[in-house]
């Protein structure tokens, strides 16, 4: 059996206002797999993602990242978990908070204790991976949306995470930027969990698809077979674009 990058078992979560988001989610991702997490709005996808690095403390069930249990009460383990899980959030303006691109990419490794030349090299390498090396000294607000998204990916890659989690990576991108991002993602040798509504994009990049609906996993399988089951998609408010065939 292959090494597991992510193991979630019986994960349940109720928001403080009594709204239950997750009802026992089971999901296991092997090293090197690229998995699409699909589901309608309000299915609990973001809640699930925030569990992966302990931003939301696990209430019931277990989350393991590369074998390590996510335990929000254990500050030491949370720190190492946050290095293993790289989350790219939906709005790059939320993710890029430092005055320049370079400093932003350096933020994570700096917190991990990297300094000096090592830090510089890590930053350069990560920007190279997303093709943004020329922008190292630019302030994020001077970049286009697609460029900011790519930098956001670099800020996470620089941590050399065991698993890369992307929340709606293709949203708000123009077709060329979307294609460029897809090329970057395919070029990376990394375990990927991609949360998205963009089914063609998921199909292009992932081998496996998981549908989360109303807080449970309702489908998990080879992406081609999941996406060709039109009854299943319809039942969970997912649709392929008109005229699109697999």
């Amino acid at each position: 059996m292959r090494e597991k990058s992510l193991e979630i078992s019986e994960l349940a979560y109720v928001y403080p206002d009594g709204n239950q988001a997750l009802y026992g989610v089971n999901l296991s991702i092997s090293k090197g797999e690229r998995v699409a997490l699909l589901g309608p709005n309000g299915a609990g996808k973001t809640t699930l993602v925030l569990h992966l690095n302990g931003i939301i403390p696990t209430m019931q069930g277990k989350v393991r990242v590369a074998g390590e249990l996510v335990d929000a009460k254990n500050a030491e383990s949370i720190r190492s978990i946050r290095h293993k899980v790289g989350i790219v959030f939906q709005d790059p303006d939320d993710q890029l908070f430092m005055p320049t691109v370079g400093e932003d990419v350096a933020f994570g490794p700096y917190n991990a204790g990297l300094r000096g030349l090592e830090l510089e090299k890590a930053v350069k390498d990560a920007l190279e991976l997303v093709g943004m090396s020329d922008f190292i000294d630019r302030p994020p607000h001077h970049l286009s949306f697609g460029q900011r998204r790519r930098v956001a990916v670099a800020t996470v890659l620089v941590m050399k995470p065991a698993i890369l989690v992307m929340d709606e990576p293709s949203s708000n991108l123009d077709p060329a930027a979307r294609r460029e991002l897809a090329e970057i993602i395919t070029s990376l040798d990394i375990t990927l969990l991609m949360v998205t509504h963009d089914l063609p994009f998921a199909h292009e990049l992932c081998q496996r698809a998981v549908i989360l609906s109303a807080g449970v996993v309702v489908a998990d399988g080879q992406i081609g077979s999941v996406l060709s089951d039109s009854k299943l998609l319809e039942a969970h408010r997912l649709e392929l674009p008109k005229g699109f065939t697999l």
Binding site: V85, D94, L96, N111
Partner: protein
């Protein structure tokens, strides 16, 4: 790293300003230091001072005590002094701010403040302000466009309610963004401090250069007092 020097100047000048009579000397020194900045830019940027000047010019007309006759106007001595002091100090302040902003980027000012050991929390707040000012103004502009697209024109007091609602919405959006940014920071291992620039070193030369301006001002103050 000329940054630091000018910050030192900016911080130190107000102290020398206390004696308004002497302040004129420092103005000269400041002007000397500015030499490399086109005078036109300095004048343009100084326009910000006009409201203060207008206020200061009014001061001689209001006051108490001794009166002075000048060009047929009867003015109060006390008011003249106060007005002159305001003009002098404001000019000094504006000029030094122009000096700083013309020679130093906002980012460098922040680094300088950090080196000067300003509490890191304040530096962090200023850093985020620098980053998100544009984001928030963009959002404000989008909201304005959205209002205008639906036929709204802010014409009078009756429209303040709408504007207040927009301001409220903007505030809540910014607050929520703040939360998301915080989540993103936590996700990347934030533990209370922002990365610092480590290569910042200050040579004695820079300190001397930076202190030159305030020291000259101080010297002129001392000389004038002893005379």
């Amino acid at each position: 790293m000329a940054v630091l020097l000018f910050i030192l100047v900016a911080v130190a000048t107000p102290i020398t300003n206390i004696d308004a009579h002497i302040a004129y000397f420092s103005v000269i020194w400041l002007a000397l230091a500015i030499a490399k900045i086109p005078p036109l830019i300095v004048i343009k940027r100084s326009l910000i001072e006009i409201p203060f000047v207008a206020f200061a010019l009014l001061m001689p007309f209001f006051g108490q005590g001794e009166r002075v006759d000048f060009l047929g106007l009867s003015l109060y001595q006390e008011g003249i002094n106060a007005g002159a002091a305001i003009i002098a100090k404001a000019t000094l302040g504006v000029l030094s701010a122009i000096l700083l902003s013309a020679t130093t980027t906002a980012r460098e000012i922040l680094r300088g403040l950090e080196v000067l050991r300003l509490p890191s929390m304040l530096v962090q707040i200023a850093t985020f302000m620098l980053r998100y000012l544009n984001v928030v103004t963009d959002e404000m502009e989008r909201m304005r466009v959205a209002r205008a697209s639906r036929g709204f024109e802010a014409k009078g007091i009756r429209h303040w309610r709408v504007l207040a609602n927009s301001a409220g919405a903007l505030f809540i959006r910014s607050y929520e963004r703040g939360e998301r940014v915080h989540l993103a920071m936590l996700s990347r291992g934030y533990s209370g401090t922002l990365p610092k620039e480590e290569r910042v070193t200050i040579s004695p030369n820079q300190i001397v250069l930076g202190l030159a301006l305030p020291l000259l001002a101080l010297a002129s103050l001392l000389i004038s007092v002893s005379l």
